[in-house]
Symmetry: C2
Subunit: 364 residues, 2 copies
C-alpha cells in the first residue's frame, strides 16, 4: 500500500521543534549534489522515454540505500498541486521541480533531511538539509550517500571536468553548499548590505532568500558557493562554513548593539510585531514572514516570555499558502488565506504578554 | 490668592467623561463671537498702552458676569509655555493667542465651556464649546453672555455693517459656528472627499482639523460657516446644525456599511490599532491620534469590550505634548515624549482583549 504524502510528512510542530548549533541565527544548512547518468541526455534534452528510464533506474536505487529505509517515493505527475507546494514550502524541492510532470519524481527520507529530485535540471539532485549550522555533518552524510548511490548507478563523469551537469555553473563537483541565515539585527542596524557586498567580494553569494537586500522577506538570507570547479568539496564546505560563522558573529554583535544602543527601537519593532500578529484580521504571507521574523528576534533576545522559538518556526511553516490550506482541509483563495492566516496567528499569540525588557545587568 | 492654571483646569479624566448628543460622531460644538471696543484701535494696530487698557477694561467686566462666578483669569505674559499649550490642546485658545505676550489675556469659566480671549485678532474673542452636537444650546448661552457683556462694554458697532472686526471675513455678526466631527467611517469607505466637496459647495467650510482630506489626523474634521454677513446668527446656527446632522447620518451609514460589507477590513483596522497601541514602545502624537481614532470607531460599534469611549477621549488629550509633560511633571524632548506616550498607551490598553465581532443578528 502506498502512503499518502501528507501521512508521511512530519508535522509542522515537529518541524519547528528541531534544533541545531547556532539556530538563533542559522535556520538551516544544506548541501546538494548535481549528478547525471552516463549515456542518457540531460533532462532538458531528453525525450519522455529517456526520462522515464532515468526515473525507473534512479528511484529503486535510491530507495534501496540504508538512509532511505523508510521513505516517501513518488512521481511528480501523481502529486497534487498542494502537495508539491508543501514540499516547496519545506525547501525540499525547487520551484522548478514543483512545476515538473511525467518523468520526474522524488524520494524523501523519514525525517525530511535527505531528498532526491529525479529529472529536475539534472537527472539527480541529491540534497541534504539540517537545522542550524551543520554544513560539515551534512556534507559527510551526503558524501556517503552519494558514494553508495554511485556504486549502483553509472554517473556521467570526466577525469578532466569532473561530474558533468546540464548547466556549466555546476560542472566539476556539482556541489552547492548553502546556509539560510536569519539576520534581522543586521537589517535593523542597516549593516546588511555592507555584509552582503563584503561576502560577495570573497566569491560567495549572499542574497535575500525571498527578496533583495534590506527588502529580504523575513530578514532571511542565503549564503552559498559560486564556484564548483577548482576546489575539493571539503574545501568549499570549509570556506562556506567559515563565512557563515563570520556572519553569525556580525549578527550576534548587531543584536547586542541594538539592545545596548537602541533598546527602545528594538522593543518597538518587536512589540509592534507582536501587537499586529496578535490583533490583525487580515495578514498576507509576506507581512506574516516579516512579523514572525521580528518575534523570532525578540525570542532570541529573551524579550518575549511565553513564546518559544519552536512555535515561531512552526508558524513560519503554517502561514505559507499550501500549509495553511492543508491545515484547513480545503482550497482557499488568496483573500481567504489572509483571513485564516490572521486567525491562526491571533489564536497562537493569545496570552503572550508583550515585550519584557531584560533586567539590567547588576554591578554586583 | 491667585489660583494656578493647572489647579483650576478639570482633569483629563473628567474631560473625557463629558457627554453630549451624537457624541459618537460629533466631538464638540463651538460658537465664537468677535467683538471690539469702540474707540480703540484693533489689536494688530494698537500700541502696548491701548492693549493694556483693553485688557484692564475687559477682564473685570467678563469676570463680573454670573457665568464667570468661578473663573480663571490671567495675562498671557504670566502663563508658562506649557500652560498655553495645554489651553490650545483643549481648544480653549488659538495657536495665535498662545503666541501672544503682554497686553493679551484670557478668562475661563469653571467647566471650560466658556472662554474669552482678550486681544487676540480682535479685542474680544468670546467662545463657548460643549461636547456633542449642541450648537443651538451653545448659541443661546453665548448670546446671553454677549448681551450681558455688551451692557458693560461699548462694542464697536455700525448700523450698516454690524459688529466691526479686525478682519473683514468676520464683519457683521462676528460669529463663527463650528462642529468637530469624527468621521473614520467616511474615510475608510473613501467617501469623505465627496462629502467635503458637497458641503463646501453649499457655502460652508469642511476641512481636516489637523490635515487635509483623507490625511486628516485622527479622522477629525471641522464644519463651520464661511459667511458672517447677510444672515442672522440664529439662521447661521440653524444651517450649520442641519449640515452637521446630514454628515452624522452619512457617517453612521458608512459605519454600518463597513460592518455589513467589509467586516474583516473593519476588524483588521481596529484590531491593528489596538495591537500597536497596546505593544508599541515609540509612538508620535500624530500616529497616536490615528490609532485612538480607530479604537474610538471600534468602541462606537461595540467591537471593543473592556474599553470605554470616555477613556479614549481622555487619552486623546493625555497623548498631546503639553498634557504628556504635565502628567510627567517635567519638560520632555520630542523623542522622550514618544517613549512616554507609548508607555502610557500600553498601560491603558493592558487587559483589552481584542476585537470581538458583534453577534450576527438572529432571524428569529
Amino acid at each position: 500500500m502506498k502512503m499518502e504524502l501528507n501521512e508521511f510528512l512530519i508535522s509542522a510542530e515537529e518541524f519547528g521543534q528541531r534544533t541545531g548549533p547556532h539556530d538563533a541565527i542559522v535556520l538551516s544548512s544544506r548541501v546538494r549534489l548535481a549528478r547525471n547518468i552516463v549515456g542518457i541526455p540531460f533532462p532538458g534534452r531528453a525525450d519522455r522515454e529517456s526520462k522515464q528510464r532515468v526515473l525507473e533506474t534512479v528511484q529503486p536505487a535510491v530507495e534501496s540505500l540504508p538512509e532511505m529505509k523508510s521513505h516517501f517515493s513518488g512521481a511528480m505527475a501523481d502529486l497534487k498541486a498542494v502537495e508539491k507546494q508543501i514540499l516547496m514550502e519545506r525547501h525540499l524541492i525547487s520551484r522548478e521541480h514543483a512545476a515538473k510532470g511525467a518523468g520526474s519524481g522524488i524520494v524523501l527520507n523519514r525525517d525530511e533531511t535527505l531528498c532526491v529530485m529525479v529529472n529536475e535540471e539534472d537527472h539527480l539532485r541529491i540534497q541534504s538539509i539540517r537545522p542550524g549550522l551543520q554544513l560539515k555533518q551534512v556534507w559527510q552524510r551526503i558524501d556517503k550517500f552519494d558514494s553508495e548511490l554511485e556504486a549502483k548507478i553509472g554517473y556521467a563523469f570526466s577525469d578532466k571536468l569532473g561530474y558533468l551537469t546540464a548547466c556549466p555553473t555546476n560542472l566539476g563537483t556539482g556541489i552547492r553548499v548553502s546556509a539560510m541565515l536569519h539576520l534581522p539585527g543586521l537589517v535593523l542596524n542597516e549593516q546588511v548590505n555592507q555584509i552582503i557586498q563584503a561576502v560577495n567580494k570573497l566569491g560567495h553569494t549572499v542574497r535575500g532568500f525571498y527578496g533583495e537586500g534590506t527588502e529580504a522577506l523575513g530578514h532571511i538570507f542565503q549564503v552559498s558557493n559560486q564556484m564548483t570547479l577548482g576546489e575539493t568539496e571539503a574545501e568549499i564546505v570549509e570556506r562556506i562554513n567559515k563565512v557563515v560563522l563570520q556572519i553569525v558573529e556580525h549578527e550576534a554583535t548587531a543584536r547586542r548593539t541594538l539592545l545596548e544602543k537602541k533598546p527602545n527601537e528594538l522593543f518597538n519593532h518587536v512589540g509592534r510585531a507582536l501587537g499586529v500578529t496578535a490583533h490583525a484580521h487580515i495578514i498576507s504571507s509576506k507581512e506574516a514572514m516579516n512579523l514572525l521574523s521580528l518575534l523570532r528576534l525578540g525570542i532570541s533576545m529573551n524579550l518575549m516570555p511565553g513564546l518559544e522559538r519552536s512555535s515561531l518556526d512552526e508558524l513560519f511553516l503554517l502561514i505559507q499558502p499550501a500549509h495553511l490550506q492543508q491545515t484547513c482541509g480545503e482550497k482557499l483563495a488568496s483573500e481567504q488565506r489572509d483571513l485564516v492566516r490572521a486567525g491562526l496567528l491571533r489564536k497562537r499569540m493569545k496570552g503572550v504578554k508583550g515585550v519584557k525588557p531584560p533586567p539590567e545587568p547588576s554591578d554586583a
